[in-house]
């Protein structure tokens, strides 16, 4: 069967680089094909209204990439994007910072104490399984529709990946190393400094990457339902007045920011885990 043959060939080129410089060639090929696919997608999208006859009603909800980029450019050029983006960024930054401040120490504590971990476990499981969105109406009641309900949603979203990965990294520390350090007379603080924290760092960075994604999602969702300012608010208003291109422009801004931040963290991740074979658990 053709399919299995393809599987054979393909996985051989993936796993072994036995054709000399094939690694580099593959890299170039993957980038070329990937770029072509994206360009092709944009072109097809652009051509849709020219090819498909559309009713004027449908046309109202439809937009093409060139219009979206025009709108995005205009928003950037006139500067109308900066003030709502700043509001969103503030909620993102404060919420993420709070999540780090709470998540890391708590994760280390729970990783080092089996008793505390057993006590916190039901709450962490419950909150991590539940979409944090469900608390949004409650948080809006308690904190109003300003900055702080957004911060709370971002915080709740970002906290658990950080907490869980830190905990995993701490718990995963090599018991023999801990014992060695202890035999040389180290105290709990030294154990943490010399063994536990270096071991947990790659896990924490993975947690941070997941947390950034969740935090951005949190900002968008919170601004959709209860806020007065922010890029999400701009997008909702645009949607209800049928400015579809503005919605997509906002989506692109969020996506690009998310990709840049996750990419930076991923670089950090690769740098830090270069010397270790094992990989941190992803989600």
């Amino acid at each position: 069967m053709a399919g299995t043959e393809a599987l054979d060939l393909d996985s051989s080129t993936i796993t072994t680089g036995r054709f000399g410089t094939s690694a580099l060639r593959q890299r170039i090929e993957s980038i070329a094909i990937g770029t072509t696919a994206i360009v092709l997608l944009l072109v097809v999208w652009e051509l849709v209204p020219h090819v498909l006859p559309m009713k004027s009603g449908t046309r109202l909800f439809f937009t093409v990439p060139s219009r979206i980029f025009d709108t995005l450019w205009e928003m950037l050029a006139t500067g109308s994007i900066w003030s709502p983006l700043g509001v969103s960024a503030a909620a993102f930054a404060v919420g993420l910072a709070l999540a780090i401040v709470v998540g890391l120490p708590l994760g280390i504590l729970l990783g080092r104490s089996a008793t505390l971990n057993a006590m916190f476990d039901p709450f962490i499981t419950a909150f991590n399984a539940t979409p944090r969105l469900v608390f949004l109406p409650l948080l809006m009641l308690w904190l109003g529709i300003g900055l702080w309900s957004k911060v709370a949603i971002v915080f709740l979203g970002a906290l658990f990946p950080l907490l869980i990965n830190t905990h995993e990294g701490v718990r995963n520390a090599d018991k023999r190393l801990i014992n060695v350090v202890r035999s040389f007379g180290a105290r709990e603080w030294d154990v943490a400094r010399l063994v536990v924290i270096p071991n947990a760092l790659p896990f924490i960075v993975v947690g941070l990457r997941l947390a950034i994604g969740r935090a951005i999602l949190g900002v968008v969702v919170a601004e959709f339902f209860g806020a007065q300012n922010g890029l999400g608010v701009v997008m909702v208003r645009a949607a209800s007045s049928f400015q579809v291109d503005v919605v997509f422009a906002g989506l692109i801004v969020f996506a690009v920011l998310s990709l840049i931040m996750t990419g930076l963290v991923q670089l950090l991740e690769e740098r830090m885990s270069r010397w270790r074979p094992q990989r941190a658990e992803n989600e």
């Binding site: 393809a6 599987l7 039901p122 969020f254």
Partner: protein, 272 residues
């Protein structure tokens, strides 16, 4: 504290006659913590005069829950939300898994679709909810499509990763021993890809729940998400909490059920 942690590690043979409390230590501690939490919540009203407009007690929540169950509202809302949830999730699996398998199987298709999918996955697709609602209305199809668009990516990426992780050596072994194509599919591909798909479905369920809630917060006239936002609007805090806790319980049950299935069906992956 540290001593307890060291002894909690399974070193060598487990003790033959550990007492009941020792064996169920974690579950007991967890249960105790939850009980303490609710007791403290109930007790805090004795000390602090909190505004009952914004805060409520566990007993009131329980009463609200009983009300909702007896009137049948809760079941009705849950049933209304369950339909788009299941449809969207099912469509996501049916479309996402084959797409992911193809992406993992044919390297060039993978090269072509990977960047596109990554861009979609990274962008907060929830942001398209207003458009989807305008396109597809506030009913079943709109919600199901929101659920689908959020839940499809974990299936795609995990099926793709599963196929890429197939051990080529195993295929050669089956071939050398005279296995047929069918054996390669049933004995190697399916068993190595399935755990990835199940793990993906766990993530997908979480995202599908978000999809249902977003859809219902945004525009709906029934459903559990609508119930939560309506009770918040009319300051029926006790009933709102009852709905929130119901959603939490459902989320935990679904996620843990899949974890359990992963542990039982694929014990060789349980270490991950």
């Amino acid at each position: 504290m540290t001593a307890a942690q060291l002894t909690a590690e399974p070193v060598g043979e487990p003790l033959p006659r550990a007492s009941f409390t020792a064996r169920h230590r974690n579950a007991l501690l967890g249960g105790l913590a939850v009980a303490l939490f609710f007791a403290a919540w109930q007790a805090i009203f004795l000390i602090l005069p909190l505004n009952p407009l914004f805060f409520t007690t566990p007993t009131q929540i329980a009463a609200g829950f009983v009300d909702l169950v007896e009137s049948g509202d809760l079941l009705h809302d849950l049933a209304v939300s369950a339909v788009p949830f299941c449809l969207g999730l099912l469509a996501a699996a049916v479309i996402g898994v084959p797409l992911g398998v193809v992406m993992g199987w044919r390297v060039r298709i993978g090269y072509a679709l990977d960047p596109v999918m990554t861009v979609f996955y990274a962008s907060p697709l929830v942001a398209l909810t207003p458009l989807l609602v305008i396109f597809f209305g506030v009913g079943l199809s709109g919600k199901a499509i929101i659920v689908f668009s959020l839940a499809v990516f974990p299936f795609i990426f995990n099926a793709c990763a599963g196929v890429r992780a197939v051990d080529r050596l195993l295929i050669n072994v089956v071939r050398s021993l005279g296995g047929r194509e069918r054996d390669i599919y049933l004995k190697i591909l399916v068993p190595s890809v399935l755990p990835y798909i199940v793990a993906g479905s766990r993530i997908a369920i979480g995202r599908a729940l978000i999809g249902v809630l977003v859809g219902e917060f945004f525009a709906a006239s029934e459903g559990i998400g609508y119930a939560i936002s309506r009770f918040a609007d009319i300051f029926a805090i006790d009933r709102m909490f009852a709905c929130i806790l119901t959603v939490m319980v459902i989320a935990v049950v679904l996620t843990e059920a899949i974890r359990w299935a992963e542990r039982t069906a694929f014990p060789w992956r349980a270490a991950h």
